[in-house]
């Protein structure tokens, strides 16, 4: 039996104990009251009953600004060193299943091909994920449509289910088992608790209000690259890129060198970048392969629902609904699916 119980009043104790060995990252408020994942100093700062964070927890392992290496220019040599925080032992506490799944996608992508992104891999290896199931998914959530589930446990190391006044703690991976074993003071479960967790999982699944036939959507996307419908669905887009920056699966980055004006030191850093910006693909010669909003918009959607499935047989979306909530012009992904699904119907009519 891998399950244990954790009283909500003991969260502080748990965090303090884990905090001795690991840095704890969890959802917390920033200065403007947004929920972000950040390093926790005090257990009281942790938020656990949040809907979902504004900035996805990718910011912990793939921060907005990440040092690739540091350098110091000397008289006839350059000294290059690896970034410092690579081997920091981290726990991401209270991550939602969708966001945990996004790490899986990151690992898949960054670990693909001849060159592997060792920075992310190393950080991920030193990280333990404590997931919490969503009992009340939002209206904009659609994880069940993209092969996810509000109580999906596969991608985390330890999985918690909120049972009201306590959490059911289930260790999933080896890493998770080891760490839960050390927490000997966790109490044992009863059959009723496990049963209740199962019920909650089922309830959560049933309360998902959006259901999309994603296989069909992918197929239509693959066949309709040149469809004029792209003009219509991208009409209202203002090209701001908040959808991509706040997407848990968007991994594109820009690389720049930053020098300390006061010394000969510097660092090469990578920053989150967005494919919605026109300079993203602008070549030095002035040629731009994706000069228009329509193309950039299409690239974003197809990258997740066409290129990703083609290359890795995975859907590049975890269904967190952040882009739906955040879009300033309310260009709702669900509407895009709906209008895309309509094209096929029209064509079928034509065939008949």
């Amino acid at each position: 039996m891998g399950e244990k119980l954790l009283n909500k009043s003991d969260i502080g104790k748990l965090i303090n104990e884990l905090g001795k060995e690991y840095s704890i990252y969890a959802a917390t408020n920033d200065k403007q009251g947004n929920i972000i994942f950040d390093k926790i100093e005090k257990a009281e700062d942790i938020l656990l009953d949040y809907l979902n964070s504004k900035i996805p927890p990718k910011s912990v392992l793939f921060p907005k600004v990440e040092t690739l290496f540091e350098y110091e220019i000397k008289d006839d040599d350059i000294e290059i060193t690896n970034p410092k925080d690579l081997y920091e032992k981290r726990i991401i506490f209270g991550i939602r299943p969708c966001d945990a799944y996004s790490f899986q996608l990151f690992e898949n992508f960054f670990g693909y091909g001849q060159f592997k992104d060792e920075l992310f891999k190393t950080k991920k290896e030193n990280t333990i994920l404590f997931g919490i199931g969503c009992n009340l998914p939002r209206q904009t959530c659609f994880c069940t449509s993209v092969e996810g589930h509000p109580h999906k446990k596969d991608d985390v190391d330890v999985f918690l289910v909120d049972l009201g006044d306590k959490y059911l703690v289930e260790s999933i991976s080896e890493k998770g088992k080891n760490i839960v074993q050390k927490l000997s003071w966790l109490s044992n479960t009863t059959e009723a608790d496990i049963q209740k967790a199962k019920e909650l999982s089922k309830l959560a699944e049933e309360s998902m209000s959006t259901k999309i036939d994603i296989k069909k959507v992918i197929k239509i996307f693959q066949e309709n690259f040149d469809n004029p419908i792209w003009d219509d669905i991208s009409m209202s887009c203002i090209g701001c890129g908040s959808c991509t920056l706040l997407c848990p699966t968007c991994h594109c980055f820009d690389v720049i060198d930053e020098n300390d004006p006061m010394s000969k030191k510097g660092r090469r850093i990578r920053l989150w970048d967005t494919c919605q910006s026109s300079i993203y693909t602008l070549e030095t010669s002035g040629h731009n392969p994706r000069p228009n909003k329509v193309q950039r918009f299409r690239n974003r959607i197809l990258h997740k629902f066409c290129y990703y499935p083609t290359n890795y047989d995975l859907i590049g979306c975890v269904g967190c609904g952040r882009c739906i909530n955040i879009c300033p012009v309310n260009n709702d992904l669900r509407n895009i699916f709906n209008s895309i699904l309509k094209i096929e119907k029209k064509e079928e009519v034509k065939v008949v």
């Binding site: 403007q32 209202s236 203002i238 090209g239 920053l271 739906i324």
Partner: protein
């Protein structure tokens, strides 16, 4: 009149005028607002058929400045055969101001545009509502009487409209677009005279530099550099923004505080005497950063120093496009 009734009247006005324009073929397309799919939003929409007129709505969440869809950076209202299309644009005061200012800067031709003037009755501050409701999901938001009613799964909360209105809308003096002969229909202001005492920024002005710096720091800290503020701003139409320039690289692109502050400082500088105070930048910010203090201060500087209010008169040049021998220069260093 209560807000709820006003909304209905405005909506009716928009639909009537839009129907008339389309039926009489005075315009080819109309840009307006449609109902959003999430509670705190509205969606810009383009219609070209009379049947679609009923999709146009008005509520207190129409925060996008529709003039953005006409700036040259996003050219889309052209037809291969007809050339430039005639566009009708649902205009609250700040949309009208943006259009007029853009024409002053020769970025668009007002003759291709029909301004459908409406008397805006204020926009709700989305961020303030989100903050108030906290981590509960908002499922529905409506205006009832003079109150905002927020409904969720197991709660219902009534909030007074006055308190949750955008700061900018509270002090707005140009609720309807200024009239320009021949291109305006609906409710427009004839020769508006703007009187503004800027009492709302007086408080901020009296702070010491360090206090201001601390305020700016904590305000801008969450910025992710997504540039939604820039993209939603009708005045930001440069082909290549200064932060994107790389010959030379002027300012850093990182999310370190100094780079963030510099970005907002320079953007504010570029908005000087041009900002039309629509508040779109604050409304669209995914991180809820309220840039009102910049907007208001820019208006104040332009008004107090040069007597200029942007987007009122298509014939007056904005302060940064003109100069005068007798400009005040009290900030110049002089011998004692």
């Amino acid at each position: 009149m209560v807000i709820e009734e006003e909304n209905q009247n405005i909506e009716q006005l928009i639909r009537e005028l839009a129907r008339k324009l389309l039926e009489e073929k005075q315009v080819d397309v109309i840009i307006g607002y449609a109902k959003g799919t999430v509670p705190l939003s509205s969606a810009p929409i383009v219609i070209d058929k009379v049947e679609d007129v009923d999709k146009l709505i008005w509520n207190n969440l129409c925060y996008i400045n529709l003039a953005k869809y006409l700036v040259p950076r996003i050219p889309q209202f052209t037809d291969p055969e007809k050339g430039d299309l005639k566009v009708g644009i649902v205009s609250k005061g700040c949309v009208g101001r943006a259009l007029i200012h853009l024409s002053v800067e020769q970025q668009l031709d007002l003759n291709n545009i029909k301004i459908i003037g409406i008397p805006c009755n204020g926009i709700i501050n989305r961020k303030k509502i989100e903050k108030e409701i906290g981590e509960r999901e908002i499922l529905e938001l409506s205006v009832s009487g003079d109150n905002i009613v927020v409904k969720g799964r197991d709660f219902e909360q009534t909030l007074p409209f006055d308190e949750y209105e955008n700061e900018l809308c509270k002090v707005c003096k140009v609720k309807s677009p200024p009239t320009i002969a021949d291109i305006c229909i609906g409710e427009c202001l004839e020769n508006p005279v703007i009187m503004d005492d800027f009492t709302d920024v007086a408080d901020f002005d009296s702070k010491t530099p360090d206090e201001k710096w601390e305020y700016v720091k904590s305000l801008l800290e969450p910025c992710t550099r997504c540039y939604a503020c820039r993209e939603a701003c009708p005045m930001c139409y440069c082909n290549l923004c200064f932060v994107d320039q790389n010959k030379p690289v002027w300012f850093g692109k990182t999310t370190e505080l100094s780079d963030i502050i510099i970005f907002h400082l320079i953007r504010a500088l570029h908005m000087a005497g041009r900002c039309v105070a629509c508040g779109a930048c604050s409304s669209v910010c995914p991180m809820g950063i309220d840039l009102t203090f910049i907007t208001r201060s820019l208006e104040k500087i332009a008004k107090e120093r040069y007597g200029f209010t942007s987007g009122i008169d298509p014939k007056t040049l904005p302060p940064m496009m003109a100069f005068d021998m007798d400009d005040e220069q009290e900030f110049m260093l002089e011998e004692d």
